[in-house]
């Protein structure tokens, strides 16, 4: 039986706290540069393209597509059987690592570029992790 306590719990830093605060509320937070409009991830208090410190946090749509992945066959105590380790491309442009959930963990079911949506799962009182599922999937 999957034991979610075996998942390495992220420790937020001052620069990433807004992301984890959003995740607790079930909102995916991204940042946008006010000077050059670049949207970026992971969080940092300046734009990685133009180094402006004038950046804002905004709510992402939560929509993404499947960019690439593997299906890990080695046992992990937090997972029942093989599981995907994936990179998704958010509708706003940045990519992030995730697991694709609420879908069979097979090459046939996990098709590159398939539409996905974010779903949050609590890990501790403070940390909820963003995962992605096929658009319209049910838990």
């Amino acid at each position: 039986m999957a034991d979610r306590s075996k998942i390495p719990v992220p420790i937020p830093t001052p620069e990433t706290e807004h992301f984890w605060a959003g995740a607790r509320e079930g909102v995916l937070k991204l940042q946008r540069c006010s000077a050059c409009t670049e949207v970026y991830f992971p969080p940092r208090p300046f734009c990685p393209v133009c180094i402006s410190r004038d950046v804002e946090v905004f709510d992402a749509s939560g929509r993404a597509s499947l960019y690439s992945y593997v299906i890990n066959q080695r046992p992990h105590p937090a997972h029942d059987g093989p599981y995907s380790i994936a990179v998704v491309e958010l509708e706003e442009g940045p990519r992030m690592m995730t697991n694709i959930v609420n879908v069979e963990q097979t090459p046939e079911a996990l098709v590159l570029d398939m539409p996905l949506e974010v779903v949050f799962e609590p890990l501790t009182d403070d940390i909820s992790l963003p995962y992605f599922q096929p658009e319209g999937a049910t838990r």
């Binding site: 992220p10 420790i11 937020p12 690439s68 992945y69 593997v70 066959q73 599981y83 380790i85 690592m97």
Partner: protein
Amino acid sequence: MKPGSIAIVGAAETTELGRIPDLSQIQLHADAAINAMNDAGLKPSDIDGVATAGESPTATAHYLGITPKWVDGTAVGGCSFMLHVRHAAAAINEGLCDTVLITHGESGRSNIGRSGRPGGRATLQGQFESPYCSMGPPTTFTIPFLRYMKETGTTLEQLAAVAVIQREWAGMNPRASFRDPLTIEDVMNARMIAWPFTLLECCLVTDGGGALILTSAGRAKDFPQKPVYIIGTGESTETPMISQMDDMTTSKAFRVSGKKAFEEAGIGHADVDHLMIYDAFAHLPIYGLEDLGFCGRGEAGAFIAERNTAPGGSLPLNTNGGGLSYMHSGMYGMYALQESVRQMRGIAPAQVEGAEITVCHGVGGMFAASGTVIMSNQAP
């Protein structure tokens, strides 16, 4: 660097490779270093520069009784030693030191006296990758390849061919960990590790080490071994987070490092007689062939499958058997450099006849960093 101004005058691996439970990490460094000093006819008191990764240069120098005037602890993963070669060349040319020892030792299999690995849970990786139970290189370094396959039409049979052909090279090398021939079917039917990668498309986990000694080309002819001249070098980094690569179908660090090395050397791809591309996993030679410019976009899988890099092919690649079949302690770059040196000295078990120029290309982390060293046995 100034092409041809620096030479490798000492090179050796640890006496044993594979499973070495009776040596700690620091002793693996020392075993290789002693072998390299013997190879070059030098004593610790002759060495005035030390570079290493995985172990601190302070600890390595003190353990060996060396008082350095120059140290480099650049640690960007398995290609760190390519960067050490480059930095040492610059340091010697600048007069910072005369004779540099570069060491590697890693108890990758036996875990004897092994240094801790980085990666706290407050790092960006710890926050945004580790929670997805990414577990390490076999399940993370491999993520980009499905995207590469979709965009280029490369097949799983072509990926398997990388392992098959490197095993052919390993079969010619008595020190290789695995030497029995493989078929495409063997590779594809092996135990699945992280779909689409099977066990035989993942590197070995072994113990071992290696060391190099560099000095100026002017001094090099006074040493017992045939000098191997450094004619071009490059290095770069991209991202410590594989999910944040610019484009998962190509490595920016490979492209930047390779281009700089070729520019320094002033050579074209047709001039290259021998090639090493760090193969932690079977897709790396495919990326390397394209990002270094040997193959066009999407052509490398077929190039390998059509036996261009196999024994008898036009571009001998990973002639020691590579990380897939020769050995892989964790930071394999040192062994790629050792094979390039052997090929330039003319003493490799699978010697490429008449080879005069070798390109040795390394990866650090998971597409995180890169280093390239181009060598020649021809005096400048």
